[in-house]
Amino acid sequence: MRLSPDQMIFWQHGFLKLNGTIVFTWGLMLVLAVGSKLITRKLSTDLKRSRWQNLLEIIVTGIEKQIEDVGLRHPERYIGFLGTLFLFVALAALCTIIPGYEPPTASLSTTAALALCVFVAVPLFGIEEDGLGGYLKSYMEPTVIMLPFNIISELSRTLALAVRLFGNMMSGAMIIGILLTITPFLFPIVMTALGLLTGMVQAYIFSILAAVYIAAATRTRKPRPAPVPKT
């Protein structure tokens, strides 16, 4: 029973392994980078534009609006990071249509790496907004006694981000694998569709949670704390 694409080995030399996670991640990176480069080669600002440019504009303005709704006032600063998170996880889930493909987010290494990126990015954006002293002071926000609890909550929500994405993706792949041995014809297709839906929802959740954490770290503290949900 294969638990993750880590166990699909494509090439091995000594202890260097090219496993499924690495190969599929590189494939996704290639598709995203080369696709965007090709589409943005000739951008046009008048009404006559290619449909691919339209698609990219829909995606970008959609993500910007979502970031603004969460409470971040200058979405263009954060859309590089948050948009990449969303596009990578969403494309990783979407490509399960292709046979022989396993989403690299079904491996705990990928999701842990993404969660660590969020864990590093939140203080970075907070320090960029408030300065180092202001950001560190935010850990003692209600009272000084809350300092260990704030630190623990930072660590635990990073862990929760990683395990949530990993669990959703892995369970989708595993259900399909189990059903293939029981009823090979109809149900694996239905479960693939369900896995597609949960994959897109999880991509949205991952990036929205990252945006909420960044908003909580960069909100203006002095006049009145804005009501932002803290996990």
Binding site: L3, D69, A160, N168, M170, I208, L209, P229
Partner: protein
């Protein structure tokens, strides 16, 4: 050796069952409240829907934790692997 197997199987089943039932109850209550507030204020539907999904993902993650633990108990059980390695090494 059979004690490890019995304990792993029983714990795996119990973990999965509790992990399916309790988050489902919580999510049902969340969706019910969200539907009520949507009926009262339909123009806030974007915010309510987004907050509902974020809340559901939070609740779902506890179910995922239970699932991951039972998968580990069934498929990647370290105690079982250790016992098997000892039995074949003998």
């Amino acid at each position: 050796m059979t004690l490890i197997a019995v304990a792993s199987i029983v714990t795996g089943g119990l973990t999965t069952s509790l992990g399916c039932m309790c988050p489902a109850l919580g999510e049902g209550r969340a969706v019910a409240t969200a539907l009520t507030s949507l009926a009262q204020q339909p123009d806030a539907s974007a915010t309510i829907t987004r907050t509902l999904f974020v809340g559901l993902a939070m609740i779902e993650s506890t179910a995922i934790y239970c699932f991951v633990v039972s998968m580990i108990l069934i498929f990647a059980n370290p105690f079982w692997n250790h016992v098997i390695a000892q039995a074949t090494g003998k």
